[in-house]
């Protein structure tokens, strides 16, 4: 897969790493915030891509795990917990939550699971909007900045490093999962669940693990988001967010680690560019939302129809993602 290809050609990987590290030093604050959101989206998308490409499951509720992470970090921090604890708890709580709801939900297939995860997100948002300890509709305000002991992350550049360190962790974990023996079994899972089951792969457990792992990635991103932005509310995690992650994963090519990052980058930058166009003087007030909705939708439709293996394999000519995807879409 991409992992193997990267090992054979370490240079592009190193170059990407160097640029990633160098960018925070040269970007201004508004560009940095785009850079941070890009990283956060990449983290979630790697999980979505893993889930769709390797476990053949569509989650329309990945935003729910993002929200769980954000609220976990936020609640702990607001009540005076050490931020590190909050940041560590965010992925853990999200993963545990996914594991708990996953037991019944992962019995569902295809579109049932898609709607079930969407429903989970809607229920969660609705609950967050009513419960006191989540701050109701107003949300949690005044989440302190992230810090370790006396050292506090003050400027955007340090959040960018934190974010991209998170991306690196997520990518490494995913690479290891993909290259492991269970990972190869997972590929079989996306190809044919029945075949995988009959060859002795514990289908249910692997699906649950991938589901929880993808939730942990989203939770981690949510945690960083909470510290960086400083507040979380139900409105921070709309359903459209979950759809965005699917767009990014599909655009990048399902089941590819780098593809997910490329997809997140492409979509984030595209939307950013559209925002600049949409808010230019003389544009009507509805322009930004119309433009971004239209472009999301068209990119998604065009990629699904004409580049079913995603942008990255289409550009580089690698067909690595082909097998998981073809079959994963089989139902």
């Amino acid at each position: 897969m991409t992992g193997g290809a990267r090992m054979k050609r370490p240079l592009p990987g190193l170059a990407v790493g160097a640029v990633t590290l160098a960018l925070p030093a040269v970007l201004d604050d508004s560009a940095l915030s785009v850079y941070i959101f890009l990283g956060l989206a990449a983290m979630v998308t790697v999980g979505v891509s893993l889930l769709m490409g390797y476990a053949g499951q569509v989650s329309l509720g990945q935003g729910a795990f993002y929200a769980v992470g954000g609220y976990t970090a936020g609640i702990l921090a607001v009540h005076g917990g050490p931020p590190v604890l909050g940041l560590l708890a965010a992925p853990v709580v999200a993963a545990v939550f996914a594991a708990v709801i996953g037991v019944p939900l992962l019995r569902l297939r295809g579109h049932h699971l898609a709607f079930a995860t969407l429903a989970t997100q809607l229920i969660l948002l609705s609950l967050a909007g009513q419960l006191e300890f989540t701050g109701g509709d107003i949300g949690l305000q005044g989440i302190p900045r992230f810090g370790i002991g006396p050292f506090e992350l003050g400027d955007a550049a340090s959040y960018a490093y934190l974010t991209w360190a998170g991306v690196a962790v997520v990518m490494l974990v995913t690479r290891n999962v993909i290259d492991s023996r269970p990972g190869r079994a997972l590929r079989a899972l996306a190809t044919s669940e029945t075949a995988a089951a009959s060859s002795g792969v514990p289908v249910g457990r692997y699906k649950l693990v991938v589901f929880a792992l993808s939730a942990a990635f989203a939770g981690l991103a949510g945690g960083i988001y909470a510290f960086y932005v400083g507040y979380v509310a139900p409105g921070s995690f709309p359903v459209l967010l979950s759809i965005e992650y699917i767009v990014m994963a599909v655009v990048g090519g399902l089941g590819t680690v780098w593809g997910a990052v490329v997809g997140a980058a492409a979509i984030t930058l595209l939307v950013q560019a559209l925002n600049v166009v949409g808010t230019a003087p003389g544009m009507p007030s509805y322009a930004p939302s119309v433009l971004s909705y239209a472009v999301y939708a068209l990119v998604l439709i065009v990629v699904v129809l004409f580049l079913p293996h995603g942008l990255l394999p289409a550009v580089t000519g690698r067909r690595a993602a082909r097998r998981p995807r073809d079959a994963g879409a089989g139902r």
Partner: protein, 286 residues
């Protein structure tokens, strides 16, 4: 008691709206195996179109029919994107309908703005056993009943309806006997658009719609359709009415805030129970 009756009628009317959405989902799913995420959008398009046409001075009746036709055409277009290309799998089709739903946001905001719109329905009300029932509620219920009867007759009695069922029952065999399965699927999408459109023009006077109302509609419609295992319109109707009444009662007795949890929780439980039952059947079959 009087309150209870009012809530019941309210709930039935709202449930009928869900039922029409659900019937559209069932029609498309039966024929194509695709769950059409854009089904709620058809209702939104019809609701917004009708309010726009009425605002432009067209009379009642004409506006509503035109709005339903616009929704039907939208359904056909959605179908063309979702299943028009050969070899599109149901999962890809689901994702495409998701994309179509978002694309519709752009069009709707561009044409009609992002504020909720409504229009007056049938004015006045009827007093029955001391309870005032709005004519619009009765219209919704009556239209839904007629629509379901027509739908049942269409699937059960007409040759085209049977060909629809044949595509659902065994697509390969349908192709063997010369039925163009893709064309049937497109017709089903158009039918889904029509049913969604009817839901939209009926419900908009009761609950204003805006571009993003589609999520509520599709989720409730899907919950109802799931009740009928996505293939049985009759059961979907029962599910939708239960859902509508339960939500209306919850709202009426002060739990309005928990409507979403109630409806979606119910849907999740039904789906999990159904899948558990299916799994048992499979194990027994082995």
């Amino acid at each position: 008691m009087r309150e209870l009756l009012t809530y019941l009628v309210n709930g039935l009317a709202v449930g009928c709206g869900f039922a029409l959405i659900a019937s559209g989902l069932v029609a498309v799913h039966r024929v194509t195996g695709v769950v059409n995420f854009a089904q709620g959008m058809f209702a939104v398009v019809a609701g917004l179109s009708a309010s726009w046409l009425l605002g432009a001075g067209l009379p009642h009746g004409v506006s509503e029919v035109a709005a339903v036709l616009i929704a039907t055409a939208t359904g056909l277009l959605t179908g063309l994107l979702a299943i028009g290309k050969r070899g599109t799998t149901p999962q890809s089709s689901l994702i495409i309908t998701l994309g179509v739903g978002v694309l519709a946001y752009a069009v709707e905001i561009f044409v009609w703005g992002d504020q909720p719109r409504s229009f007056p329905g049938l004015p006045g009300s009827l007093t029955l056993a001391g309870v005032g029932i709005q004519w619009q509620h009765l219209l919704v219920v009556a239209t839904t009943v007629v629509t379901f009867l027509l739908l049942t007759a269409f699937f059960g009695r007409t040759y085209l309806g049977k060909a629809f069922s044949a595509c659902a029952s065994n697509p390969y065999a349908a192709r063997v006997i010369g039925i163009d399965v893709t064309k049937m699927g497109l017709l089903a999408f158009a039918l889904g658009g029509l049913l969604g459109g009817v839901a939209g023009v009926l419900v908009t006077p009761l609950r204003p719609v805006s571009f993003d109302t589609d999520v509520t509609l599709i989720v409730n419609g899907f919950a109802a359709a799931v009740f009928g295992a996505l293939t049985r319109p009759g059961l979907a109707l029962v599910g939708a009415l239960l859902l509508g009444v339960a939500e209306s009662l919850a709202a009426g007795y002060g739990y309005a805030a928990y409507q979403t949890e109630l409806a979606l929780g119910l849907m999740l439980i039904i789906m999990v129970v159904q899948s558990a039952r299916r799994a048992t059947v499979l194990e027994e079959a082995v």
